[in-house]
Amino acid sequence: MATQLAAQDAPFTWPSQDTSRVPYRVYTDPEIYALEQARLFQGPTWNFLGLDVEIPEPGDYKTTFVGDAPIIMLRTMDGQINALMNRCQHKGSLLCYKPRGNVRELTCVYHNWTYNLDGELTGVAFRKGVGGKGGVGPEFEMHDHNLVRLRVDVYRGLIFGTFSEETPPFTDYIGAELTASIDRVFIKPLKVLGYHSQMLPNNWKLYAENNKDSYHASLLHVFHNTFGVVRPNMGGGIKLSANGWHHLSYTERTPPNDDATGTEKVRSLKEQYKLNDASVMEHRLELGDLVTNSIQTIFPNLVVQQILNALAVRQLIPRGVDRSELIWTVLGFADDTPDMLALRLKANNLVGPAGFISMEDGCVGGFVQRAAKANPDDQTVMPMGGSGIEPSAGSRVTESAVRGFWKGWRDCMKI
């Protein structure tokens, strides 16, 4: 049991000096999963909870998860954003069992215990009993039973929560260079265009790695090559935070060959597989640069995506050792014209659980998961770009960001 481990103990010894080898047991071992909840998700990490535009009015709430922990994010009457554990301190029932709503206080349906929007216990039903009989004992103190409250940091409308007092402020957590990448995308007030979620038949880390893995993009997602989406003359690279935990992978048009201001129709590499309707690939430059694809990860549970004009945040939630959920919140800007909205909606055929260039990410983790059960001490090998954790200016044929993920994992897990 993980709970039997002392604070610094590791359930196993990492088999190598670097993070270019990973033992399969990390994907299948329930003990490691339990330890991740305590040391990683409830450790010194900022976990994405949602967007401030999802709770615009005082009293608005939305429920979510940090690892296994159920969370309520809400806006108080004076406009502050709070994150509270969605678990009554009495018998542990969920307080909010609907995905979203508007409340003035939090009342547990089970025994009617009530909390204010700061999570302070304000009411216990029949606290003094009935007719002088029953009720709580004299030692019961209301303030001993407040909800668990997370620290919150809101950056450019993205809401993050952490259980730990050690987590540095968010912009220090990801560093100046990757903060600038967030600034690049979130330039205007946002509008949520919709949601979907993808149940992944694999441990959460296989999807987290997949997003850091720029090596696979044109190999697994054959649509890229078949229909000429990513072309050989495109630039781009990988940026990494100093500690390796967070990354950005991007692709950009290379001027002056491309039309930098207008709409680009992508040519097909194989004439027989030309798209009948290339409008799904139309891209209107809107972020002040020539970047066509940008995938940014913030350790451990967020992906910020710009693929052409398809903008989204993807939130990763572990659902047991061999299952995870990926929640897509698809975005536009509040001032989008009807034309721009239509373009974004069409571009969303590329991404999501049915996306031309992303659906494979739903199944490939499952292929690894099914094979990982055997011989848990055997290891994966990630040699592309060496064994270190360095940015890559010219090439995306590297696994350095995946090795950076494992450094973050080991730092948190003390393994």
């Binding site: 949601y195 993808q198 597989y273 009948n276 055929n349 049915a354 031309f356 659906m359 494979e360």
Partner: protein, 162 residues
Amino acid sequence: MTTTLTPSLSARLTVEAFLHDYMLTIDSDRLEDWHTFFEEDGTYNVTTRENMELGLPLNLMSCEGHGMFKDRIVALRTANIFEPHVYCHIPGALRVTSIKGDLVESESSFTIVRTTNGGDMDVFICGRTHDTVRLGKDGPKLKNRTVILDSRQIDTLLVIPV
């Protein structure tokens, strides 16, 4: 003895038979025929009950015009990678909600059981469809089909149309 159907009953039977044909065409992997169930500029959307109720416009999958329908199937056959699987559509209740000229609007419920090559079977999705069918001289064609999934969750991926 001959029985004369009322126009509304006749329309209902025509639409029902047409939608059954649509489902069996997909279930029998004749996906290259998918677009022929739609008018040349027909539209197709797959969304969720959550998005509909929140008034959000996002679709999981959308097609507008035969070109996009064909591209979906070409990508499925040549580019997209997934574990081979088949659908069994189980049609549920159907009601005709409006008949205006040659356009019949209907609403129906469905369930899809998914079976993979390896034999795993599961209830993949269920929900409702809103179909607008034109009863033209070339037979019925979909002007629009909107699929509203009850759950926001898609297990693994969605590649075969609903």
